[in-house]
């Protein structure tokens, strides 16, 4: 496997040096770029504190409050920060890759619905044709120190 990869890399480098960029997408730089931007230009690394963890867990309902999870989150933020080093003045922000297409509009007629059995077939708990959900939003129990090295604890 490694030999195959090495072989491919050599081939690509060869084609690049030949100036045969037609064979590859024009957006690939002809000479490999090792670093996107100068690391000294970046904003200081964001540190996650207790409050932020609680807020994020409540908003996302994702369990990540252990050392490993937090490190991963901080790395992800650091990675996203790279974009700040790029000069985007005068460039219109892109909303989606579909932005040059127009939204298709459907006629106003009933074409779906009336499939109650299907729709409810995944529900674990139902009651006389209603889905059943726990009441309101259950508040998350605050925990002592989330920056410890323990495995994530079950909350909900």
């Amino acid at each position: 496997m490694n030999r195959l990869l090495k072989h491919n890399t050599t081939l690509i480098k060869f084609w690049c040096l030949q100036g045969n960029a037609r064979l590859l997408n024009s957006k690939i730089p002809p000479i490999p770029v090792v670093k996107l931007t100068d690391e000294n230009n970046l904003p200081p690394q964001t540190k996650i504190n207790q409050e932020t963890i609680e807020l994020l867990e409540r908003l996302s309902l994702v369990d990540f409050a252990n050392k490993r999870g937090i490190e991963r989150l901080e790395d992800a933020i650091k990675f996203a920060d790279l974009i700040r080093g790029i000069d985007t003045s005068g460039v219109e922000p892109m909303i989606s890759v579909l932005e040059d297409r127009t939204l298709y509009l459907r006629d106003d007629i009933v074409t779906e619905g009336n499939c109650r059995k299907e729709v409810m077939s995944n529900a674990a708990v139902t009651e006389e044709e209603y889905f059943v959900a726990p009441q309101g939003n259950i508040p998350l129990i605050p925990r002592d120190s989330l920056l410890n090295d323990n495995k994530s604890s079950k909350q909900k």
Binding site: T102, Y104, L105, I109, V110, G113, C115, E118
Partner: protein, 523 residues
């Protein structure tokens, strides 16, 4: 069930009119969610009829089953554009859908598709009359600006089962198309808010984009209220939800303003919270579930390209399969708006502004008015409006009937107007005729006048005779009148009226009686 129609002026209970102490100013901004009248939902092909069996109008997309995608309904875009044009908004040629994330059992996907950043239309305005007889001296015109109009999905319905600590979820309403109208905070009290909602309902019903049935949940109004002392910066605002009728808008806003003033005056602090209007206890109470400040993490909806509408003579872009919504075309299709109808009534028929407001507020009255005036141009419009507004509504009210279900036609009403105008009957008889018409008497008014002998007595000799007879029969009253008790005059008039069975021309009667009595006095 349509509630019995009441006289618009006298049944509107003016909100307890203790004015705010002069140094307090209130700021009210409304958010209105109007359900678009359409056959299918906003992003799916499921049906939208009210009262469908539980969880039947649910497609796989509405239940957020993975692997489904939204497809926008053209009728909803047209309705949104029509409403935007009627409210003088600027329609954006390109608008974008966003996701608003929050977790709740009635939102299966965990997000709502709405238009937060670039809505369908922005910067409009709505002009309306504010007038409650007990509260204001005369009607005044107020204008409220519209910040934006956007298309969004509705969420499902939750039934709370307190005992078993659970909620039952019905997704038939999930995905139903809504227009959200965000108004600027430029209102100052509950009556202005109620008047704005009333005018908005008239416009939406006229356009046919919303049924505006607040009891069915087709129109929901939330009010943002804050108070501050004059000259100081704006205070903390609170949001009031669960308002179920136009009058409730006025009451809820008034209560909230008073509550905030009371809190601040007693040294307390107003908290930024969401409160619910409780109709039974007539106060706003904090809503339990929405405690924390929400972070909605708005993000562009990745599954929907931008929505483009054609403006200013643009032609369709060739590469799309179906036609775009053409705004100019829709602008030409706009029907006559309530404001224009009122102006036409005032300019063309010369009736007063208040009467015009009442007629336009009640569509059935307006139809009758057009029927009466359309049949014979010579009929007096002011008299017609009087008959409709003052007399007809009173009688309907007394009989506990409603304008919609009553079987009479403008034709019979027009005849009553003719008889009154030509002085063939007096007002009392006219009321009797109206009572007969309302009760369903199939005879025409002229026939009834003939049959029951209700024609007005205008023959002066007949009136003279009756007056003389009354004076002779009541010597004591005459003595009292000559002695100075002028109030007995009314009882003498009453006696004449009774003898003539209320058919005499009362103005003539009064004149003749006065003449006779003054002759006796002077002799």
């Amino acid at each position: 069930m349509h509630l019995p129609l009441r006289l618009p002026h006298y049944s509107l209970v003016g909100v307890a009119s203790v004015p705010l102490m002069s140094h307090w100013k209130a700021v009210v901004g409304l958010e209105v969610h109007a359900q678009i009248t359409s056959t299918s939902k906003l992003f799916s092909g499921a049906g939208t009829e009210f009262g469908a069996p539980v969880n039947t109008n649910v497609s796989l997309f509405d239940a957020a089953i993975p692997g489904t995608l939204p497809v926008l309904n053209r009728r909803c875009v047209e309705a949104g554009v029509l409403t935007a044009l009627a409210l003088s908004c600027r329609v954006n040629p390109v608008s974008v859908f966003d996701r608003k994330h929050y977790f709740y059992a009635d939102l299966p996907a965990g997000y709502q598709i709405t238009q937060h950043r670039l809505p369908l239309a922005q910067e409009g305005e709505l002009e309306f009359h504010v007038f409650i007889p007990d509260v204001h001296h005369k009607p005044y015109i107020k204008k409220s600006c519209i910040k934006q109009l956007q298309l969004e999905q509705d969420s499902g319905k939750l039934l709370h089962d307190e005992e078993a600590c659970r909620s039952l979820v019905d997704l038939s309403r999930a995905g139903i198309p809504l227009m959200e109208l965000v108004f600027e905070p430029d209102l100052e009290d509950g009556e202005e808010a109620a008047a704005l909602v009333k005018e908005l309902i008239l416009i939406l019903q006229c356009l046919g984009t919303c049924s505006c049935k607040m009891e069915e949940g087709a129109l929901r109004v939330d009010a943002n209220v804050s108070v501050h002392r004059e000259g100081e910066p704006l205070g903390v605002r609170s949001e009031v939800k669960n308002i179920g009728s136009i009058r409730a808008v006025a009451h809820a806003v008034k209560y909230e303003i008073d509550r905030q003033v009371r809190t601040l005056e007693s040294g307390g602090v107003v908290v930024n919270e969401t409160r619910a209007w409780d109709t039974d206890s007539r106060q706003t109470v904090p809503m339990r579930d929405k405690e924390e400040k929400q972070d909605y993490r708005y993000m562009p909806e990745p599954n929907l390209p931008p929505l483009r509408v054609l403006l200013n003579g643009q032609h369709a872009i060739p590469d799309i399969k179906k036609d775009c919504v053409n705004v100019d075309c829709l602008r030409r299709k706009l029907p006559e708006l309530p404001r224009e109808t009122r102006e036409k009534l005032i300019n063309q028929y010369g009736i007063s502004a208040e009467s015009a407001v009442i007629l336009v507020n009640e569509n059935n009255l307006l139809k009758h008015f057009y029927g009466i005036m359309g049949e014979k141009k010579s009929r007096d419009p002011k008299l017609s409006t009087n008959i409709l507004i003052m007399e007809l509504l009173t009688i309907l009210n007394k009989n506990k009937l409603s304008l919609e279900t009553s079987p009479f036609s403008s034709y019979s009403l027009g005849e009553v107007v003719d008889l009154l105008q030509s002085k063939k009957v007096n007002l009392v008889t006219a009321r009797k005729l109206l009572q007969e018409i309302v009760s369903g008497n199939p005879q025409s008014p002229s026939e009834m006048v003939e049959k029951y002998g209700w024609a007005q007595i205008t023959d002066s000799s007949e009136i003279e005779d009756v007056c003389t007879a009354v004076i002779e029969q009541n010597p004591r009253l005459v003595e009292q009148f000559c002695a100075g008790k002028t109030k007995v005059f009314n009882s003498l008039v009453g006696k004449v009226a009774k003898i003539t069975e209320n058919r005499a021309n009362m103005a003539l009667v009064v004149k003749v009686l006065r003449d006779k009595l003054s002759k006796i006095q002077n002799s």
